[in-house]
């Protein structure tokens, strides 16, 4: 049993619902900053970070449900905390505009953290051969 087996059979509808929820929650935070130069890049990285960390949280929970390994609960909490941290940073970025993106050490650190999350997600979604 896994979460996937419990979701409704109409998968396109589920995928549409997920994309709609992400879109609706993303647009209000991004739309006001579209013309604020590189600030939008910073916000997009936070948004994608939240989505990826949430997916990893979901996968870790799914893994726990499938195999009952307690350490996966710890892993899911860790990713949930990561998602929360990204959310806090996103809210903070709404107030303080990023003026000089490429010369800011904080932004470089942000790019590296973002890269780490993307690479981790890529490694996980790489399919095993039967």
């Amino acid at each position: 049993m896994s979460i996937v087996e419990a979701i409704p059979r109409n998968k396109p509808l589920v995928i549409f619902a997920i994309i709609a929820i992400i879109g609706v929650s993303t647009v209000p935070s991004l739309a006001p900053h579209v013309f604020h130069g590189m600030h939008i890049v910073d916000l997009i990285m936070h948004q994608v970070g939240i989505v990826l960390a949430s997916i990893l949280t979901f996968l870790a929970l799914n893994s726990y449900i499938m195999n009952k390994s307690k350490k996966m609960i710890v892993v899911s909490i860790a990713f949930a905390l990561f998602a929360c941290a990204e959310l806090v940073q996103l809210l903070e970025s709404q107030k303080h505009h990023v003026l000089d993106f490429w010369n800011s050490p904080t932004e470089w650190a942000h790019i590296m953290l973002f890269g780490m999350l993307v690479l981790f997600a890529l490694a996980i979604f790489k399919r095993k051969q039967l």
């Binding site: 049993m1 896994s2 979460i3 996937v4 990893l56 996968l59 870790a60 799914n62 893994s63 499938m66 195999n67 009952k68 390994s69 307690k70 350490k71 996966m72 892993v75 490694a123 996980i124 979604f125 790489k126 399919r127 095993k128 051969q129 039967l130």
Partner: protein
């Protein structure tokens, strides 16, 4: 009589509905149920259990009649007791990459010549021929009589059902990958 799929779902659910951690026996049964036809060594590797310990549990479960081992040409394949014999032979081929590729191309296109199959699966003619002969002798694939010998999958529905059953969704596969990284 319940179908194999129904039995599989019911029994897995009865194991998973148990509260707390699963016992080692239950985990072994679950692994075999999820991967029927799994080799002894594959099972050892996936469960991280040593040869001696695994042998002990396999013998114990065999005595209880929960699982059975098929020993053929030096390879031990493990199955649960409720599996159909026709499913069993198909599953064995589905667990091997090249026969699975052959079955997948024959599932997509109804009739294919030997040359078309080798081109589609991108394997050498000798490898393709070796596995095709095995599939034909196991009555999974039949050869049509005609000017050009064409290969046809005998029971398309059964093959597609088994592929769906033992092919994890992308989310389940990713969840397993995630657990592999942290284990």
């Amino acid at each position: 009589m319940k179908s194999f799929t129904e039995l599989r779902t019911i029994e897995i659910e009865s194991i998973l509905s148990k509260k707390g951690k699963l016992t080692r026996e239950e985990r072994i049964i679950l692994e075999i149920k999820n991967n029927p036809g799994i080799r002894f060594r594959e099972l050892m590797k996936s469960m991280k259990i040593t040869n001696g310990v695994m042998s002990y549990y396999i013998q114990k479960l065999e005595k209880l009649g929960v699982i059975f081992t098929e020993r053929k040409s030096g390879v031990s394949r493990l199955f649960t007791d409720n599996i159909d014999t026709s499913d069993m032979s198909l599953i064995k081929f589905l667990r091997t990459a090249t026969p699975k590729k052959i079955m997948l191309v024959l599932l997509k296109d109804d009739k294919l010549t030997f040359r078309q199959i080798t081109e589609k699966i991108q394997m050498s003619p000798s490898t393709t021929s070796f596995y095709l002969k095995k599939l034909v002798s196991s009555n999974i694939v039949r050869v049509s009589n005609g000017a050009n010998n064409k290969y046809i999958l005998e029971n398309k529905k059964q093959v597609s059902n088994l592929i769906v059953l033992y092919h994890p969704s992308i989310i389940d596969a990713a969840s397993e990958n995630l657990e592999d990284i942290f284990s």
